[in-house]
């Protein structure tokens, strides 16, 4: 393979990985602040739906991105109400958000477009060009890295997840930091979902995130809750998705045509593998889940 197509391959892997990267970063904000984030899948679905719908109605993909992340922030705050205000179990509450997305979106979709399974296809002008997901994802990773390494807020965020008492003693409310973290988390994950429906595809289709929220969480854990390693872990899934597209329908001598269903399993199987192998060893924020 010549170097040009290698670069192409890399870029398309990065493009496919972009929504996942955003979701992983979204999870990072939440989990570094001490709140388990199982609801990424739901945030992404909401983002994908609101993004595609707004882009369709407003006729502008960028507007779609903004609407999606705005709505994501609201859902993130709602998750905050459940786990910070009402002290609900974080895993179960996160699952509840996911269920709301699985069940609620088709209902709204039916109201708006009279079909439950997808939004109207976006015009080429309403979609975002190929480079957008890459730029958005890398920007968010870079900003997050700087925020955590260089600013006071970053220090607050990480101390909230490690030793909230110390933060409180310093006169900063850990709960307040977590509220903001969850809001960012919802917004960023929804942005990832919106890129999926506005740029990688041309409409929202039912459950189009297909478990990416959970894979992002696995990537985050694999990346030891740090932005750049998590981003690289996501890239692995991006490569996997590209491979999936290339492998479909390929003849392998002595085996026959590679079946679609088996190729589709690939990213999930890799996630399982990582979960069993490496992930168990990494060290979580000390107070994760105890807020």
């Amino acid at each position: 393979m010549d170097s040009l197509s290698l670069i192409e391959l890399f870029l398309s892997a990065l493009r496919f990985a972009a929504p996942l990267i955003l979701a992983a970063v979204a999870g990072l904000y939440s989990e570094r602040s001490g709140v388990i984030q199982i609801a990424l899948e739901g945030f992404m679905l909401f983002g994908a739906f609101v993004g595609a719908t707004s882009a369709h109605i407003l006729g502008d993909g960028v507007a779609g991105l903004f609407m999606a992340s705005g709505f994501g922030m609201i859902v993130g705050m709602f998750y905050g109400v459940l786990v910070l205000k009402l002290k609900a179990d974080q895993i179960v509450a996160g699952t509840a958000i996911n269920m709301l997305a699985w069940g609620g979106i088709p209902v709204v979709s039916k109201m708006l477009f009279d079909v439950t399974s997808n939004t109207p296809a976006l015009e080429a002008s309403e979609r975002l060009p190929n480079w957008v997901p890459i730029v958005v994802a890398l920007t968010v990773v870079a900003v997050t890295y700087v925020l955590i390494q260089k600013t006071s807020f970053g220090l607050w965020l990480t101390v909230a997840g490690e030793k909230p008492e110390a933060l409180r003693a310093a006169g900063v409310s850990p709960a307040g930091v977590r509220w903001i973290a969850l809001m960012i988390s919802g917004g960023v994950a929804a942005l990832g979902g919106a890129l999926l429906s506005i740029s990688l595809a041309s409409s929202y289709t039912r459950n189009m995130t297909a478990g990416r929220g959970f894979m992002a969480l696995a990537a985050l854990i694999l990346g030891k809750w740090k932005p750049i390693p998590a981003c690289i872990a996501c890239l692995l899934f991006g490569v996997c998705e590209v491979a999936q597209l290339k492998l479909q329908g390929v003849m392998i001598p002595g085996f026959g045509v590679v079946p679609v269903q088996l190729v589709q399993i690939l990213p999930y199987a890799i996630t399982m593998f990582l979960l069993a192998g490496v992930v168990g060893e990494s060290r979580a924020p000390a107070k994760l889940g105890q807020s």
């Binding site: 925020l147 260089k150 600013t151 006071s152 807020f153 220090l155 607050w156 990480t158 101390v159 490690e162 030793k163 008492e165 110390a166 933060l167 409180r168 003693a169 310093a170 006169g171 900063v172 409310s173 307040g176 903001i180 000390a286």
Partner: protein, 525 residues
């Protein structure tokens, strides 16, 4: 005439029907070292929470520098020159020492939280803060490796870091909550010296403690709290340690020796030789630990917390697991059986009582009733036969047994259906003792048996342990309280960073020598 800096007058704090502070009156003078003493639950920490604005007064006034306290958070207190070093350090273990100080500075930037949030997005100038800190710490003689994560620092250095935080913030009044609880006697000496230095440079010091000898050696004045009330404030030079103890408890306390019969040790119950266990993560590695516990013998393990005591405890609880990977020459024999073939489950089915250090986390299910807690670790005793083996629980039998235990050990209230979490610390511990000791164990593994327990219950628990010893049980006693170890033990082993560094027989017990060994110092043989 010294000027009054902090004044509590008629301060009352109610939590529901509980009076945590009841008409509390005392004052602290500028420039003095003031000790606040009292038993668990006497209201010391509530008083400090009120001072720092963490709780609001029910009635009364607290005045600082003549004007009444108005802040609602530690931030306001800091701004007025008050700072506190908590018993459990407020340090984030994975962050660097530097970042922990920077965190402490956030309170000074702006007042409204919105403004602070906005400002928090500015970059931290770590370089210049580091320079300032290095100057500051060299002026007071601290040696803090600023870039190192806090978890890698020894406790003594962590405490210096906490003090450096206050100094950097320009705090004038420093409050220490049980500052020497986690220090070795040697580190304690250093700490007390440091306190005197800080005091001499004009800072007012308040120490909350129950270690009366330290109070005697350092404080100018002492305020005694009992059941939420201030009993009195006295000049430290006017009272003896015995006086202070009596004032604290409200009756004459027996500080002398407990009654114990002369007994020569019998058969070997627990035998450990050359035990080496690799420490996981930040836990210390046990190296070449050898000891034995015989019938009628109390074997004490002294040491600063984190010197390998809990690893030793875990090793005895699950010998099979630690012996398998650790080579051929490690030996653990429990009640005559080779530890290699014993796992957790089998250990618990022997005549062994287990009283772990962290009661609420390791010994009980706080949300459950006493009856359910009676089953914890002992369900096999109430097993009834059913279709496939003994998998049923006979709760009726457990209840009968429990009622008897509660009576013998005077657990109050003796209600098998009451939720365990609702009991006081002393009664919880008495319940655990009842559950573990009433089965006539041959070997008792017991760690921090009187932590968080009031004086009355301590006497009872100590009496019960000695009683078991006199009846022929062997006891492995881990404690961070040197006086407890010296009162109960026949032999004391001192642990330091995973090794036994010194061993003392009862006739050679000396607080000074044991203390020295706890700090890793000389080893008298």
């Amino acid at each position: 005439m010294a000027s009054v800096l902090i004044e509590f007058s008629h301060v009352t704090k109610k939590y529901g029907s509980l009076l945590a502070n009841d008409d509390l009156c005392f004052s602290v003078n500028k420039g003095e070292i003031h000790a606040l003493i009292g038993e668990n639950g006497a209201g010391k920490s509530t008083a400090m929470k009120l001072l720092f604005g963490l709780e609001t007064l029910t009635s009364g006034v607290i005045k600082v520098n003549g004007s009444s306290q108005s802040w609602m958070s530690p931030r306001g207190a800091m701004a007025s020159g008050l700072g506190m070093v908590h018993q459990h350090f407020m340090l984030s273990p994975v962050h660097s020492a530097l970042d922990n100080v920077i965190l402490g500075q956030e309170q000074l930037k702006g007042h409204r939280s919105q403004i602070r949030l906005f400002k928090s997005l500015r970059f931290i100038d770590r370089k210049s803060i580091l320079r300032e800190l290095q100057e500051l710490s060299s002026s007071v003689g601290f040696r803090i490796p600023w870039q190192e994560p806090v978890e890698n620092l020894p406790v003594g250095i962590q405490q210096q870091l906490e003090i450096a935080k206050l100094l950097y913030a320009g705090v004038e009044v420093m409050i220490f909550d049980e500052p020497t609880a986690v220090l070795s006697p040697e580190e304690t000496e250093t700490f007390l010296k440091m306190i005197r230095n800080l005091n001499q440079t004009g800072r007012t010091i308040i120490i909350i403690t129950h270690k009366l000898r330290e109070v005697k050696s350092i404080a100018d004045r002492v305020t005694v709290l009992r059941r939420g009330k201030s009993v009195c404030t006295v000049e430290c030079s006017d009272v003896t340690v015995q006086d202070m103890a009596d004032l604290m408890v409200g009756r004459h306390v027996h500080l002398g020796e407990l009654k114990r019969s002369e007994k020569s040790p019998g058969d070997e119950l627990l035998y450990i030789e050359h035990l080496t266990v690799e420490g996981l993560g930040s836990r210390p590695t046990l190296t070449d630990v050898s000891l034995s516990v015989k019938e009628g013998q109390v074997v004490g393990i002294a040491g600063v917390e984190g010197s390998g005591q809990s690893e030793l405890f875990d090793a005895v609880l699950n010998p099979g697991r630690v012996l398998r990977p650790s080579g051929m020459n490690s030996v653990i024999r429990v009640l005559g059986q080779d530890g290699r073939s014993l796992d957790r489950k089998l250990i618990r089915q022997q005549a062994i009582a287990v009283v772990p250090a962290d009661r609420l986390r390791e010994a009980v299910l706080p949300e459950e009733t006493l009856l359910e807690n009676e089953l914890l670790g002992h369900d096999h005793e109430f097993a009834a036969k059913a279709l496939s083996g003994y998998q049923w629980i006979d709760r009726k039998k457990a209840r009968e047994r429990l009622v008897g235990e509660l009576k013998t050990f005077d657990v109050r209230p003796p209600d098998p259906d009451a939720r365990l979490g609702g009991f006081s610390g002393g009664n919880q511990q008495k319940f655990v003792m009842a559950r573990e000791l009433s089965r006539n164990p041959k070997l008792i593994l017991c760690s921090q048996p009187t932590r968080g327990v009031d004086v009355g219950a301590i006497e009872q628990i100590h009496g019960e342990l000695l009683n078991r010893r006199d009846k022929g049980a062997g006891i492995l006693l881990i404690s961070s309280q040197l006086d407890e170890l010296m009162a109960l033990s026949d032999v004391i082993h001192v642990m330091y960073s995973g090794k036994i560094v010194a061993t003392f027989n009862r006739q050679d017990f000396s607080e000074h020598a044991i203390g020295l060994a706890m700090g890793g110092g000389g080893k008298p043989s």
